[in-house]
């Protein structure tokens, strides 16, 4: 038991940024916001990393996909450069 406690490094509690900040809209027309939740490669980041709640993660994923279809966000950056 003691060891377990020691092993665990300090980690700040993650929170859903969309729940905390209502002005942060999830909209495919705002790729600059969505981009904060994707990797440089354009992949959607998992909840376990961003801390987004299930409801907002779902909306986020859907909106990212629409943005990709409309060429507002990349599917991948592999082709470029």
């Amino acid at each position: 038991m003691e060891e377990l406690k020691i092993k665990r490094p300090y980690a700040r509690r993650k929170f859903c940024r969309f729940c905390a900040d209502k002005s942060l809209v999830i909209d495919y027309k705002r790729p600059e916001i969505l981009r904060q939740f994707t990797t440089e490669r354009g992949k959607i980041m998992p909840r376990r990393i961003t801390g987004t709640c299930a409801k907002h993660q779902r909306q986020l994923a859907n909106q990212v996909k629409i943005a990709r279809i409309m060429a507002l966000m990349p599917f991948t950056t592999a082709v470029l450069k």
């Binding site: 700040r12 940024r17 900040d21 002005s23 942060l24 809209v25 909209d27 027309k29 790729p31 600059e32 916001i33 904060q36 354009g42 629409i66 990709r68 279809i69 409309m70 060429a71 507002l72 966000m73 990349p74 599917f75 082709v79 470029l80």
Partner: protein, 123 residues
């Protein structure tokens, strides 16, 4: 009547008058389908995230309109046939169109455009 939103993407090599013609065409189409145009937002020429038909730029146009359910199909069909349109996407915003209310909603997001969404409070 339902409220729809259609975003479409035009070729970047259109001349000024050709561009205006396309805008008129789709606005006219909405009218002919007995729809109501709520707002038209011209995003202008923007860089694309990946090449589309070998272009790296394009004109984005956002339409908000209300109409009977068939209207979006008719609009999309025209866009599919029109070679000046490279991409389009329609979503339904509301099931019922209440004159006035939809117009207000359409204005809202534009006004509070920049509430400074800083990504800093992470750590």
């Amino acid at each position: 009547m339902r409220v729809y939103e259609t975003l479409y993407l035009l070729r970047p090599d259109l001349s000024e008058e050709e561009y205006a013609k396309v805008l008129e065409k789709f606005k006219g189409l909405i009218q002919r389908q007995n729809g109501v145009l709520i707002k038209e937002d011209l995003w202008g020429k923007r860089d694309l995230a990946y090449p589309v038909q070998k272009f790296m730029q394009g004109y984005y146009v956002l339409l908000h309109y209300a109409g009977e359910p068939g209207i979006s199909f008719e609009l999309e069909r025209e866009m599919r046939l029109d070679e000046r349109v490279m991409k389009y996407h329609t979503i339904k915003l509301q099931d019922r169109y209440i004159p006035g209310e939809a117009e207000e909603k359409a204005q809202e997001p534009e006004q509070k455009e920049e509430p400074e969404t800083t990504p800093s409070e992470e750590e």
